[in-house]
Amino acid sequence: MTTARLACCALVLLATLSACSSSGETLVIYSGRSQNLVEPLLNQFAEESGTSIEVNYGDTADMALLLAEEGDATDADVFLAQSPGAVAYVDGLGLLSAVPDDVLDLVPPEFVADDGNWIGVTGRQRVLVYNADLVDEADLPASVDDLVTEPYRGRVAVAPPNGSFQDFVSAMRVERGDGATADWLAGLVANDVATYANNNSIVDAVSRGEIEMGLVNHYYNARFLDENPNLKSVNHRFQDGDIGALVLPSTASVVAGSDQPDAAAAFIEFLLSDDAQQYFAEETFEYPLVAGVPAPSALPPLADQDAPEVDYGELGGDLTGTLDLIRDAGLSS
């Protein structure tokens, strides 16, 4: 009996060893965007182009750390990221190479890195999600600055550890300077803001009525409603031009050490095709960045919104400074 079991183990081990593959011909994608969001699209690319792909999914920040640790030894050809901040970190280490110019031209210039080392694929807007049973539409704020005023005392949630909230604070620093941003954060704390772990927990808490409203990315509530159409949570966009209506791009980059930069570029071009952009609008409720592709239903196209202008390249520049501001305001727990 023991011998049989040992033999079994040995077999499994052999199978395992022989399964180790090298990735000469395949396009290896490090995806900081989750499997459920992008897998169908990636499979479509593999099928249509005949390119074989292998995808490693993970948290964007963890993937950035992995790329940094692997350095030149990486297998990765493409890096997909949720936030410009993490890409800036990898780019700062010299680990990305430029996306070809003809691909960069596909999206508006504000969604392209100055050095061409990343390109925006989709847009995710900051919004205020609120519970329609608890909040009167007339009482909704026009600007994030309203959230630090008396009428919103104890009614608003934020997610300080979340990358998008941090990118938003960084954008506010770029637009208004550190002093004004620190004041706003201190105003939130003085106004008894509630803190949660991430976008999911805020939308969940708002939909249950535990808290009336919260700052999140727009597509989480769309996801929650897709899972449960009976929820009372609704997205509210801040007025045009308000920093609260910031649009954050998800990005694609070619990894500097890639042994097949052409296939990598072709893949990124595919993500910016009309088909793929439409997929994002319909399936993940994100804004397409390519002109002419319709926005997710019920949302005005980005081109018609006077979204706040921010140099996204600067968002990742001083993440430490942003974290310090958030912590010094007393938002860390």
Binding site: C9, D62, A86, D204, E227, P229
Partner: protein
């Protein structure tokens, strides 16, 4: 509580574990071989710590100023406080449940044995989110609770919330180790105590409990280390401990993040050393020929079942019900789901999960067994040091383990192979197999070795025929712990697995991170079912047969 509380005269048929005669050449050979293995394996287990030291020392640019400026004292103190509280409550809960399922006439005992270890396999962020959905204001059970007259439930949050949830998700560490020990304690002492007219409660306190101390400490240490390294629960429940600083600063200040990971490793080393010195070692041998003494619960049956129902109810049944609710809801709403469209997509993750978790459980047990034999039987200092290093691996965040292995092995043929992944699991979870193995090794009476020496039986034959079978429940418990831990492991799997490799846990994470609750729930339920099946086959059925 030293075991010597048991009066010497009450130790029938057992003898003290100690060194074999120093002039025994076979003993020396075993010791040298064991020592060599301990050094080798110990180096492997120390790899993450060495990586952290290299990193932190290699960049004296002053980013570690935060360590000196007092800002981290709070998070560090909260880590120690939370881990201590959880260890104590998990030890109490785990010991009670273990005693109930091994030593009493509890109704439905097989089912309890199956259900009690399972909360260990629920990924902590998933379980916590499910509990929040259930018990938070406006949650699934808010209606049920208010109909029972409970109108305000204390918010599941902060220290209290983390303490409660972590206790419920970690008591199985104590439960499994203690239950395996209880299964093979010789009943003679208890019988004697009963003959002298002691009541069952007194017998437990004065005879059984002292013999369980090493097992309880071993399990409690695992709980402590798990809590120290946990991020999912404290993040969702907003308790500001060190892992939250580690994760929050990992991109902004990777060096600080690694430095703090190192401090968790050092904390673990300290606690492991303290435990080693305070524990004393198990002196009571095992006996598999006789069943342990069964205590009739009598009037305590009701309360005992109620206690288990509350524990299993909150830790396992409620999360499971929430998950089932999510699947039904998503199915009815025809929500976007990869798995409802194509259930076959789960076949590869199921097989992968099964393969790496079984391999890691076997590998971890095989790797640590020699260390624990030499450390425990031969009282070897080198092996003891190695075993302390093994323990530290469990307290490091999975992220640090993963980055360390990337650092050491990038560019080699092993990199991004399943072998490397299994090695990462062994380094991360070896402590679980080790602590269980040490309890098991200590339970083999030395008189067996002496007897077989006198009879001229070869050491190998004795090992195979006597020692191993005696240790089996403990080794299985340790392997079971590793198995369940690997099945839900995330950070190392996401970063180190071969390209394109997926497990059930990575499916759960991928779906949950962007609120695909239907898929997250399906993958979680399959994970639970799979681990239930494995627990049944590998741990319970075997333990029963003994």
């Amino acid at each position: 509580m030293p075991v010597t509380d048991v009066e010497p005269g009450l130790q029938p048929g057992t003898s003290h574990v100690g060194d074999p005669r120093p002039d025994d050449p076979r003993g020396t050979a075993v010791r040298v071989a064991g020592r060599g293995w301990a050094v080798l394996a110990g180096l492997g287990f120390a790899a993450p710590l060495i990586f952290l030291v290299v990193r932190v020392m290699g960049d004296p640019s002053g980013s570690l100023a935060a360590v000196g400026d007092g800002r981290l004292v709070g998070p560090f103190a909260r880590t120690v406080l939370l881990a201590s509280l959880v260890s104590v409550t998990a030890a109490i809960v785990g010991t009670t449940t273990a005693w109930l399922v091994t030593r009493t006439d509890l109704p439905g005992v097989r089912w309890w044995r199956l259900a009690l270890p399972l909360p260990l396999v629920i990924p902590s962020f998933m379980g916590t989110f499910a509990l929040l959905s259930a018990f938070a204001p406006g949650g699934l059970f808010a209606g049920v609770l208010s109909s029972l007259g409970v109108t305000s439930v204390p918010q599941l949050r902060g220290l209290w919330g983390s303490w409660l949830v972590l206790t419920l998700f970690t008591y199985p560490y104590v439960h499994l180790v203690v239950a395996s020990r209880l299964n093979q304690l010789p009943p003679s002492l208890e019988e004697a105590a009963r003959l002298f007219g002691r009541r069952p409660g007194e017998v437990f306190r004065s005879v059984v409990l002292p013999q369980l101390v090493p097992a309880i400490l071993a399990g409690g240490l695992l709980v402590f280390l798990y809590t120290v390294s946990d991020y999912g629960v404290v993040e969702l429940l907003r308790y500001d401990v060190l892992t939250r600083v580690i994760y929050a600063s990992r991109l902004a200040d990777p060096l600080l993040s690694l430095g703090l990971s190192l401090s968790l490793g050092l904390l673990a080393l300290t606690v492991a050393v303290l435990e080693r010195f305070s524990a004393g070692r198990d002196r009571i041998g095992g006996d598999r020929s006789v069943r342990g003494l069964q205590v009739p619960l009598g009037g305590w049956r009701g309360p005992a079942v109620a206690l288990l129902a509350v524990v299993v109810g909150i830790a396992l049944v409620v999360p499971t019900m929430v998950l089932v609710g999510w699947v039904v809801r998503g199915w009815l709403a025809d929500s976007s789901s990869l798995l409802l469209d194509d259930p076959g997509a789960l076949v590869a993750p199921i097989w992968a999960t099964l393969r790496v978790s079984v391999l890691a459980a076997v590998a971890a047990t095989v790797v640590v067994l020699p260390i624990s034999v030499v450390a425990t039987r031969r009282r070897d200092r080198v092996a003891a040091a190695a075993s302390t290093v093994v323990v530290a691996g469990f307290a490091l965040p999975g992220l640090a383990i993963a980055l360390a292995l990337v650092f050491w092995l990038r560019g080699t043929p092993l990199y991004r192979s399943e072998v490397l992944l299994v090695a990462a699991y062994v380094v991360h979870f070896g402590a679980q197999a080790l602590r269980a193995a040490e309890v098991a090794v200590a339970s083999v009476p030395v008189r067996i070795e002496e007897a077989s020496n006198v009879l001229g039986v070869s050491a190998w034959r004795r090992w195979r025929r006597v020692d191993l079978p005696l240790m089996r429940p403990g080794l299985l418990a340790g392997a079971g712990l590793v198995l369940l831990s690997v099945m839900k492991e995330l950070p190392a799997t996401l970063l180190l697995a071969p390209n394109g490799f997926e497990t059930l846990a990575t499916r759960v994470w991928n779906a949950a991170t962007d609120a695909f609750w239907t898929d997250a729930a399906i993958a979680s339920l399959v994970l639970l079912a799979l681990s239930g099946g494995l627990t049944w086959i590998l741990v319970i059925r075997r333990a029963d047969a003994l």
